[in-house]
């Protein structure tokens, strides 16, 4: 029964006092719009314990951790349901997980997804069902889903896995029949198959440092209220912890009405058909090469240059900077080897290619110069020189080397391609387009030339032309997955290029329709 003293309105002053207490101890920050719901929670608990004033109850909260948790359980009760905002789960199944799986080395079969702030468990179970529907276990993937929350009561509910009708509103009948069992009382219980992929644990997102089990190796993190519960500073720290915990290329899902603008610039914002997701950047390089090793584990992504608004251009810049950093790191990390004895032009060329792969541009140039002393008309050597100079930003040297290569053989597609890249980097789109077109004229399957051409058109908002070139790039990749162009992909895997093209293609088609 409600005590009359307690039933009165909560003054703003009292609200703030409780709010600050909650915030100090849990990190959860209630906006003033939550005044009424906090009043209900306070009155409920105070009445249960027999307190006659909220002031007395405040004292109890300060003394008694158990009671603090009880209140927290009430305050954080979340309106949640299965497949809440279904578009996010569709993006998870159709785009995010395939991308993540494609990037995993052959030996790694774990897929780890963390539902942070999982409340009563609908979200991690929805993830589990999505994984089962994809059939990933059929190929030997080991999916793991973890749900964490600060509310022990919610966690107990989650572990029990029994839900009423209200949680089920987004669940299609065929999903119900595959993944739920009806209980005698008319509720729905998660079946063992769904349950077997999911673990639950207590975790307060605001308490640092995070346990080691949470730090690192997550492929996807769901936290769909983070910017709502916490104040800005706390939100920034939580998001930073998520960033550090994600694998490169891993995704953060936040609420569909939330944004990380002004919270974090570490992530790449990815639009997947109207669903905005945040990806931890991969240290990938489009037009460069170098050692894969000697890379810091969690380097924050360089911030995009403010002048550029085109994502493709930004990506290229990021890639270029990452490549430069890696080349420096590799050069510093590995001692220069003894120069082997001269083995003729062929042998030196082999060595040069090896040095190229190892990310030692200076040694490549040295070898190329020795080759050219022996064989001044070696077009491939000039080409190699052009590539290395272009990648080091020495455009004048690179241009000269390209011209020398083309003087020997005017039909070298790679020389045209490198010219195109140089002009593109110098901001001369007109000449870049011309060189990429010449590249394609010589070798129609030179996928990267199509791709770069498409990127230029896209930046110029020529959507139809861009879409056509993305299509050509895709066709070329499928036709010649190991074509000459692969040498210039800088370790960038063909399937990633394919996905990049597909994404841009969809974007351009949409823009073309809209415009």
């Amino acid at each position: 029964m409600l005590n009359e003293h307690l039933a009165k309105d909560l003054s703003l002053e009292e609200f703030r006092r409780f709010r600050d207490l909650l915030h100090r101890h849990s990190g959860i920050y209630l906006e003033e719009s939550k005044l009424d719901s906090l009043r209900i929670s306070l009155v409920t608990r105070a009445t249960r314990l027999g307190y006659t004033s909220l002031n007395d109850y405040y004292g109890a909260l300060e003394r008694d951790d158990h009671e603090f948790n009880e209140l927290l359980n009430l305050v954080t009760i979340n309106e949640t349901s299965f497949f809440r905002f279904p578009q996010q789960f569709e993006a998870l199944r159709e785009r995010v997980l395939p991308e993540i799986m494609a990037d995993k080395p052959a030996s790694s079969r774990n897929l780890r997804i963390w539902s942070a702030g999982c409340s009563t468990g609908e979200e991690p179970y929805s993830v589990s069902m999505s994984l089962l529907d994809m059939g990933v276990e059929g190929l030997g993937w080991r999916p793991q889903v973890l749900g964490t929350d600060v509310s022990t009561k919610a966690l107990a509910h989650a572990k029990a896995g029994v839900y009423g009708k209200r949680s089920m509103m987004n669940v299609p009948p065929d999903v119900v029949s595959r993944f739920y069992e009806a209980t005698p009382s008319g509720a729905y219980r998660i079946n063992d198959r769904v349950r077997s992929l999911v673990d639950f644990g207590y975790h307060n997102l605001i308490k640092e440092p995070y346990p080691l089990s949470l730090m690192g190796n997550w492929d996807v993190i769901f936290c769909r209220n983070v910017t709502i519960y916490f104040r800005l500073e706390s939100t920034r720290r939580v998001v930073r912890n998520f960033f550090d915990s994600l694998n490169e290329g891993g995704y953060l899902f936040i609420g569909h009405s939330e944004t990380l603008t002004s919270i974090s610039e570490d992530f790449e914002a990815i639009d997947m058909g109207g669903v905005f997701l945040y990806r931890k950047p991969k240290s990938r390089r489009l037009f460069s090469f170098g050692a894969q090793a000697a890379r810091p584990q969690t380097s924050p992504a360089p911030r995009p240059a403010p002048a550029s608004t085109d994502p493709a251009e930004r990506a290229a810049k990021r890639a270029a900077r990452a490549a430069a950093a890696e080349a420096r790191a590799a050069a510093a990390a590995t001692p220069a080897p003894e120069t082997p004895e001269d083995e003729g032009v062929g042998g030196m060329f082999e060595q040069a290619r090896t040095r190229l792969k190892e990310g030692r541009p200076a040694e490549v140039i040295e070898l190329v110069e020795r080759i050219l002393v022996e064989d001044p008309n070696n077009a491939d050597a000039h080409l190699l020189s052009a590539y290395v100079h272009a990648d080091s930003g020495e455009y004048d040297d690179a241009l000269a080397a390209c011209q020398r290569a083309l003087a020997i053989n005017p039909l070298l597609p790679a020389a045209r391609y490198i010219l195109g890249i140089i002009y593109q980097r110098q901001g001369d789109a007109l000449r870049a387009v011309s060189e990429f077109k010449k590249t394609i004229y010589i070798d129609a399957d030179f996928a990267l030339a199509h791709l770069n051409l498409a990127n230029i058109y896209k930046a110029q908002r020529k959507w139809a032309a861009a879409a056509k070139e993305y299509e050509n790039a895709l066709r070329a990749m499928y036709k010649s997955p190991n074509g000459a162009w692969m040498e210039f992909a800088g370790g960038f895997q063909a399937d990633l290029l394919v996905k990049t093209c597909e994404r841009s293609l969809i974007e351009c088609r949409k823009a073309a329709e809209a415009g």
Partner: protein, 126 residues
């Protein structure tokens, strides 16, 4: 690549038998699966040299099966030929998205099927 092992996936036993007969006549060893989930399990257990995949399959459709295989470092090198009843353009577009190596429209002409299989196997062999 005579003697290569081919996984044929179709939910219709009659079509499956027909495909099996054609391929065996071409000198190939044939293993079969009747739905998407079984296709994945078989691909994992048997590591076939090539997969012939119907689009309309129970449990997991052929597109999903194809994508899972093609987005996986361990399986992406296995050539996949998709069999579809859909029109050429649709199938082509979907084939690109799913990463299938080729598609053929049903009903399949035996020579076309054997030609496509030989072509894909030759590519893998280099």
């Amino acid at each position: 690549m005579a003697g290569a092992r081919i996984l044929a996936v179709d939910d219709s036993p009659t079509i499956l038998e027909m495909i099996k007969a054609i391929l065996e006549a071409g000198g190939y060893e044939v293993i079969t699966a009747v739905d998407g989930a079984e296709a994945l399990e078989t691909a994992r257990a048997e590591k076939p040299d090539l997969i012939l995949l119907d689009v309309m399959l129970p449990k997991l459709d052929g597109y999903r099966v194809c994508r899972l295989l093609k987005f996986d470092q361990n399986y992406k090198s296995i050539p996949i030929i998709m069999l579809t009843a859909k029109t050429e353009e649709q199938a082509m577009a979907t084939g690109i998205r799913t990463g299938a190596n080729q598609y053929l429209t049903k009903p399949v002409d035996p020579d076309t099927l054997l030609g496509a299989v030989a072509e894909e196997l030759a590519k893998v062999q280099g």
